[in-house]
Amino acid sequence: MADEQLNECSDDELAARVRRGDERAFEVLYFRHREFVYRVARRFAGEDETALDAAQQTFAYLFRKLPRLRLTSKLSTYLYPIAKNFAISERRRSRRDVDREFPLGSDAPADGGAGGGDGEVARAVASLPDAQREVLVMRIVDDMSVEEVAAATGVPAGTVKSRLFHALAALRDRPELGRYWEE
């Protein structure tokens, strides 16, 4: 099968091709989810090197598991907790002292940075409780649906909605973000 045709295959079809020994199908899967996996790993690892290690382990794990893997949801939903757990364990192994378990926004520029209000948004999000911040970032940045967030985090969809609501309410209460809500 040509590479263009492989690119049009769904994750499930590609996984089936990998099971039959087609390594090119795995490469298509890899390039399709590479940035997502790295982004999740970076989010929980807190630094680039550790995130790269965690992303590598995630794909090695996926390759090992693919022969027996039967996808019942999107592959990103399956990859999210794997990348998260590898990133957390890698960070523990590297014994770096990171205050928060989920250090999003910790490297935000203090003055807001060249990107206008990106830094203050990141700092505001970083100040949220871990559970709320996680679902907010999955929903907004990773563009996952409520059901996908629920499947990936292992909590009910109602809990995801509740956390999203409280996260947004907390952001709305921050005066420095007020202009975003008055659009």
Binding site: Y30, R39, L104, G158, H166
Partner: protein, 186 residues
Amino acid sequence: MRWPRCVTGRNWGGIGRSDRKKLLVSVEPNRGEGAPWVMNGDVHETKPDIPPRLAEALRRHERASTDRINLAALDASVLDGIRARGQRRRVLWRLSGAMAAAAGLAVALYVPWGQNSAPVAPMVVFDATRPVTILEAFRLARLLESSRAVSPTWDVSGDGVVDDRDVEVLGARAVRLASLTQGAPA
């Protein structure tokens, strides 16, 4: 656009613990992507999404961490590792195939197939011309224990079958004293 306010930890003002629990529960009853959002008893048909500019700022910040890293190193480590593993797997498959073929060949060459190709041991014959020793009785006992065919020459008792009785007769002959044999009445 004015976004609907919802109950947060900072806005409880004067609500008792049991009421808080009721309010928290009332946040969650509607499940699913398209379900209306219920907060504090009010149904908000509009999904309370984050304002677009705020979402864009958050995406920009989050993706900046991805953009600044060169993922080529990750590509090399992951894909090279997968290719090497695939190569090892193919070599192992070929090796195991070759070993299975060799084992099959060995079995075909060395394992006897059918009764005709089985090596046949020569039948042991009793030599009645030689003096009988206890070893003859022992040899017959071993022959009877094994599944090998026994020559009818071992029928020293003369009853038509070669069995334990022939072993006893041979043993008795071997230990019989010559003087007793000579002195015995005819």
